[in-house]
Symmetry: C2
Subunit: 240 residues, 2 copies
Amino acid sequence: MTNPTAAMLVIGDEILSGRTRDANMYYLAGQLTEQGIDLKEVRVVSDDPAAIIAATRALSDSYTHVFTSGGIGPTHDDITANCIAEAFGAAIGIRDDARAILQDHYDTQKQPLNEARLRMARIPDGATLIDNPVSKAPGFTLRNVHVMAGVPSIFQAMVASALPSLSGGEPLISRTYRVERGEGDIAAPLGALAHAFPALSIGCYPFQKDGLFGANVVIRGTDADMLNQAMAQLEAEFPI
Amino acid sequence: MTNPTAAMLVIGDEILSGRTRDANMYYLAGQLTEQGIDLKEVRVVSDDPAAIIAATRALSDSYTHVFTSGGIGPTHDDITANCIAEAFGAAIGIRDDARAILQDHYDTQKQPLNEARLRMARIPDGATLIDNPVSKAPGFTLRNVHVMAGVPSIFQAMVASALPSLSGGEPLISRTYRVERGEGDIAAPLGALAHAFPALSIGCYPFQKDGLFGANVVIRGTDADMLNQAMAQLEAEFPI
């Protein structure tokens, strides 16, 4: 069985200018791995309609799922919903169910549901809403694209709302083995191991810390028995 | 004057699986902004030759510079150099100048320059080397693509080696103004400000912390006078 695939599209000038360090990619990557969905590509684009539309189409065509973060708030630079609608030729407007959620929220907060806030009820036709338990304004799913907020706490809450309904494949298992040898000494045996276990993904991540150097060898796969066999060979090759 | 543009290509399964949190994107974004080069897009792809080659070609065609991180070590999963060569139809082999750097380094360390380590001297024809003061194995520049290591300390050292020779544009200046109001209250005046200053980029980044909520408004541009005018209007609209 092949796992479903996914891509992520991060939207925001604040990431590309170096002002903000993105936190959502790392979070989503971990969640998808647990769910058995293979994250294959991430793109970060600026708040530019042409860039957002082109990336949405390209990723939607290539992968089972696309997850976006950023650009769905009430301000003028929040253009993601419009761009996703345009990418698929869908109409977009204020939708009653989304409006009701916001009305209820701002009534409780004794704040007006003004024109800016009402922008967050703009949902493309044919989309289903993604629940936002943190700040209420919903995300949405249109075709295979899941559109979520950029603020990390809200992004994480939306991922929790959206992920359970997506059918994943077999969860990826990973094992790490620490070898205190130079990568140059590890490379040849590791290449042989990768050749012997083509169904496993074997990575080598060097470290240098406090005068010690070595590498963490990470073996990933969905078959636990095969993983154990490969780990046993690795331990025999580099005994502690 | 328009600033030169750049894209970044992050190569590595360890990022996409959620095992490692990427640090290089944030670092490079800050460095490029200081240098007056506009980072327009980032892509993260897995250790898959077809994905690396396709992304390299697409980004090289679209932007002034492309910076890659990851996949140039001595192990079997270090395939970046070969992929970059293939993307441009360049031959690749062990090059004398790169070999000499490694030979000298491993002689000093009293370690053998074995076959695996020698892989790090494989450089595409026509490339220039990027100095690596940390662990010696060089990066390289082929056409407009700058190929660097993934380990953050080495990546940063290579960026410091490569950046000064690239001519940048006018450095981007940014000013931040903190407004303790809901984004929904800020949105309309901010939209008007963006309309009045089309040459500036105006972003709004909400926060919620310790019961306080509000937004940091960030205005970016290359013209300091214009930036000051916009900031004055913003301060008048939302006095502290």
